[in-house]
């Protein structure tokens, strides 16, 4: 057993800090032959922050773990979950945004969770909340179809629609009642895709609509202009052909 309470611990730490702060800084005179080495070392150190910046540019803050009490009944953990990575950054109507993604593998099914961050907030979905409970709407396959998210940003008064799309996607039409816009599906950062274990060739899109809008209809088209996916309430499916059930 130890006799230290929190105040005693803080007093101990405070004493060490004060001692260190009071210590005068030493100036070391370097021999001439060491100076060249020092210049080289400084040059190397100058490169290190660049490497760190690159590191920070790829790895995004991990999504906090979800408490068990908040998980749905019958929840199933992914067999493999990739790290959260920055897949795209940009600016729309003067608002800077960044998009992060992570992949969860449930056997042969891979779901991708996407988060959008804008000044003062953000939103999105995690990919590790699957449940096998029938009718819960969050089976691994259902999560894998959830490619589009929306977020109402109270700061800018706009609704953001964003998502992760397959490699064949080229354009995205976003329409809600009284509002419509079309944006390009751009390739996600290839380094981030590799490091995050995301689907190869993954593309992303970020679109903005004025005002508060609930889950717009999103149509994803390929290079030929043909509809690749139709997404309602964020769930995406290939378009139904005429005559199909």
């Amino acid at each position: 057993m130890s006799a230290r309470d929190p105040d005693a611990l803080l007093a101990e730490l405070g004493h060490d800090l004060r001692t260190a702060w009071a210590r005068p800084r030493r100036r070391v005179a370097l021999p001439r032959r060491w100076r060249r080495g020092l210049v080289l070392a400084l040059a190397a150190f100058a490169l290190v922050p660049t490497a760190l910046a690159t590191h920070d540019a790829i790895w995004a803050p991990d999504v906090p773990p979800l408490p068990d009490v908040a998980r749905p009944p019958g929840s199933v953990a992914p067999e493999q979950a990739g790290a959260q990575v920055y897949v795209a950054r940009g600016s729309a109507r003067g608002v800077r945004w960044s998009l992060t993604a992570s992949a969860c593998n449930y056997g042969a099914v891979r779901a991708v969770g996407v988060f959008l961050t804008v000044p003062g907030g953000g939103g999105g979905a995690r990919c590790d909340v699957a449940t096998r409970l029938p009718g819960a709407g969050a089976s691994p396959r259902a999560l894998a179809r959830r490619l589009v998210q929306t977020y109402f940003d109270p700061v800018s008064g706009r609704t953001w629609a964003f998502g992760a799309l397959p490699a064949a996607a080229r354009t995205v039409e976003v329409s809600a009642t009284g509002a419509r816009t079309s944006v390009a599906a751009t390739p996600a950062d290839s380094d981030a895709v590799t490091k995050g274990g995301l689907p190869p060739g993954m593309r992303v899109f970020v679109a903005v609509l004025d005002g508060a809008r609930d889950m717009p209809l999103v149509t994803v088209r390929d290079a030929s202009g043909a509809a690749l996916l139709v997404c309602r309430e964020g769930r995406c499916e290939p378009p139904r052909m005429k005559g199909s059930p």
Partner: protein, 186 residues
């Protein structure tokens, strides 16, 4: 009147005033007493290194606390991102934070009322009532749109929004009631 510069002596006085609140602040956010002690140490080490950047009056205790807590939030953000404290500034000044024994960790957790915090969240969840709790679960855990939550619960979308909003407010209030006035003004 000329502003007073922040020197080691004034920072030491600020440590004496604010370190306990910062320790509680970190413990409640990391649920890890050892990590919280490391973060307190790294925060003040960085504050010392960056003391010339402090633009306020070092005689203003509130302004100084707000500045130190601002550094603390950055240190916490980095620690959460990396899963550990960085200790870069601490290493530069040659200080090792105290290593805690199990009972010392328990005392810090007690100071931060972690047990009560957990109980408060569980109690607040239990107090929500089945319908409100289910609405919060569908929206927050299953991430369904409000329209889908409404359909699942057989209520209007507006009622679903209100139900989720009230549920989240109740949970937030339960946590706020236990939050010390520790963060200072920012």
């Amino acid at each position: 009147m000329a502003r007073q510069r922040l020197d080691a002596e004034r920072l030491a006085a600020a440590y004496q005033r604010d370190a306990r609140r910062l320790l509680i602040f970190f413990t409640r956010r990391t649920y890890d007493a050892q990590l919280a002690v490391d973060l307190v140490a790294e925060t003040y080490a960085r504050a010392f290194e960056q003391r010339r950047r402090f633009a306020g009056d070092s005689g203003d205790a509130d302004a100084l606390a707000a500045w130190v807590f601002g550094i603390g939030r950055n240190v916490l953000h980095e620690a959460l991102r990396r899963g550990r404290a960085e200790r870069r500034a601490l290493r530069r000044i040659g200080v090792e934070p105290p290593v805690l024994a199990a009972d010392e960790q328990a005392r810090i957790e007690e100071l931060a009322e972690l047990g009560e915090l957990r109980t408060a969240v569980v109690a607040a969840l239990a107090e929500l009532g089945t319908e409100q709790r289910e609405a919060v679960r569908l929206r927050v855990v299953d991430e369904l749109a409000y329209a889908a939550v409404a359909r699942r619960l057989g209520i209007s979308e507006q009622a679903a929004r209100a139900r989720v909003s009230r549920g989240l407010r109740a949970l937030a209030a339960a946590l706020d009631r236990r939050e010390p006035r520790a963060e200072g003004a920012t």
